[in-house]
Amino acid sequence: MSSPISSWEGASTVFTFADKPMVLGFILVVAVALTIFAIYATVRHEQVSYKSPMIKK
């Protein structure tokens, strides 16, 4: 169950998996890893593009 609450009465923190720190940590790590991967993918895209015969003199 992703919901940390079973009733809205007296609810405070309501975001998904708020009551499951391990899952939260895992999602956060995935988000950080994807951000870093996106930068790596940009570097790869540049390296391939700069070597492309289409743009070589």
Binding site: W8, T13, F15, A31, T35, I39, T42, E46, Y50, M54
Partner: protein, 457 residues
């Protein structure tokens, strides 16, 4: 049916909730207006690029925003709340800002954290956009993204913790006063940009071997000018985000001193118009006039809450008149800041802070034991923030340069970055003229020529 009369306690709860929701609504719309800043920077940068680089400039600007949002969530907000005392983090004070804290997500009992976080994200994205324009047409996308994250989610927010926070040490120790973020946003971003521009080098064809220079013009000045006007529109959201909504009480500035949006309205507009006129007097051209309007706002930002409006007009005019000369001075020293970002934001913010030391000295602080606003505090704060921007900008980009990851290869720069980086065309009908693959080498240009795009036949 007769309605029950609410109790005093119920009425108090009603008013309190109404105030809380009004606060959320106020900042929500400030955030929306701040988005317009980015629409403006997008248009301005695309217009300032030659046709062969137009889309890359746009993609670069959009990606800065995209990467700042998550990284500011991961660590930026924590830096703001943890480093107000200097370089040693206050771990307890910043615990609620860690990315797994209960307030860092939907929380029915916390109406403030998300909306303030979002406003600060937009400030952060503004710093990256300030840098973005200066680096167009020759900087690697990946290098720019890394630098944007460092500036937007690291450096500026550290400066904000020091200077734009009720407990920031520059304020509590030196009496620093900068309600409109001229220091932490503009000065830091401008000086960081200067450091990067010095290492990334000039665009091919900008300077000649004999020391003379060529003016590289963008493909659409109207697009740039409209973009700058959008930036100005967005600044009303930016400055709205610089004032604290206190439900049921008077507004305060970020340091807790009483302030009004009326004061901001007077001085923003007077600074803006002074800046427009000042830049017109020294340049006569619309790009610098609109930049001048922005310089006018930036230069009066430290004292928006207290300046006499005609004084804001004079300050805006003076600083904006001088800024194009600063830009020319950099150009004569071989520094190619493509859009004058340093002159507008670095110089504009720095000069505004120093002048505020003269004109708003003596205003008292409300934080117990903190000195009143004073010249040394304002000038010292400006120097600290300029150094905080320049040092990481220069040395990190120097490291990137040494690693060969800062600048695109010369052949890619000459052919145009749209051809290299973006699988789309800005103006497809124009492509057949060869405009998008215009090659300009340094040896092909004569001194003092204008390099632009071939126009369609």
């Amino acid at each position: 049916m007769e309605q029950a009369t609410p109790t005093l306690e119920e009425l108090q709860q009603l008013i309190q909730m109404s105030n809380t929701i009004n606060m959320e609504i106020f900042y929500w719309w400030c955030i929306a207006l701040m988005m317009v800043i980015h629409a403006g920077f997008l248009s301005y940068e695309i217009g300032a690029s030659r046709l062969k680089n137009a889309l890359t400039a746009g993609v670069k600007n959009i990606l800065a925003f995209a990467f700042i949002v998550p990284t500011f969530f991961f660590f930026g907000w924590w830096i703001y709340n943890g480093f107000s005392g200097g370089l040693i983090p206050d771990l307890d004070g910043a615990a609620a800002s860690l990315p797994w804290a209960s307030s860092m997500g939907p929380n029915i009992t916390d109406n403030a954290t998300g909306i303030f976080w979002a406003a600060f994200v937009l400030f952060a994205a503004t710093t990256a956009s300030i840098m973005s324009g200066a680096l167009i047409e020759r900087t690697r996308m990946s290098a720019f993204i890394v630098l944007a994250i460092i500036l937007g989610s690291g450096v500026w927010i550290l400066g904000a913790a020091w200077s734009w926070h009720p407990a920031g040490w520059l304020t509590t120790e030196w009496g620093f006063h900068d309600v409109g973020a001229a220091g932490c946003v503009h000065t830091i971003a401008g000086f960081f940009t200067l450091g990067v521009v010095m290492n990334v080098g000039a665009r091919i064809g900008r300077f000649n071997a004999d020391g003379s220079s060529n003016n590289i013009v963008g493909h659409s000045m109207p697009m740039s000018v409209i973009g700058l006007m959008l930036v100005i529109v967005g600044f009303f959201g930016f400055l709205g985000g610089c004032i604290i909504y206190n439900g049921g009480g008077q507004w305060t500035n970020i340091y807790g001193q009483p302030a009004t949006l009326s004061a901001f309205a007077f001085n923003t507009l007077m600074g803006f118009s002074g800046g427009l006129i000042g830049a017109y007097l020294t340049t006569r051209e619309p790009f610098w006039m609109m930049s001048g309007g922005l310089i006018g706002i930036v230069s009066v930002a430290p004292g928006l809450d207290v300046y006499y409006p005609p004084l804001a007009f004079v300050i805006g005019m003076g600083v904006a008149a001088a800024a194009p000369l600063v830009h020319k001075f950099l150009g004569k020293r071989g520094i190619d800041d493509a859009v004058g970002a340093f002159a507008v934001h670095g110089f504009g913010g720095f000069a505004g802070l120093v002048l505020s030391g003269i004109f708003i000295a003596g205003y008292p602080n409300v934080i117990e034991g903190s000195p009143a606003v004073n010249f040394l505090g304002q000038t010292g704060g400006a120097i600290v923030l300029a150094a905080l921007g320049f040092i990481p900008g220069y040395f990190i980009s120097l490291l990137m340069k040494k690693m060969g990851v800062l600048r695109v290869p010369a052949h890619a720069e000459e052919r145009g970055l749209d051809l290299v980086e973006v699988p789309a065309q800005a103006y497809p009908e124009w492509a057949i003229t060869g405009a998008s693959i215009t090659t300009v080498s340094e040896s092909e240009v004569r001194p003092n020529t204008i390099i632009g795009e071939t126009k369609p036949a």
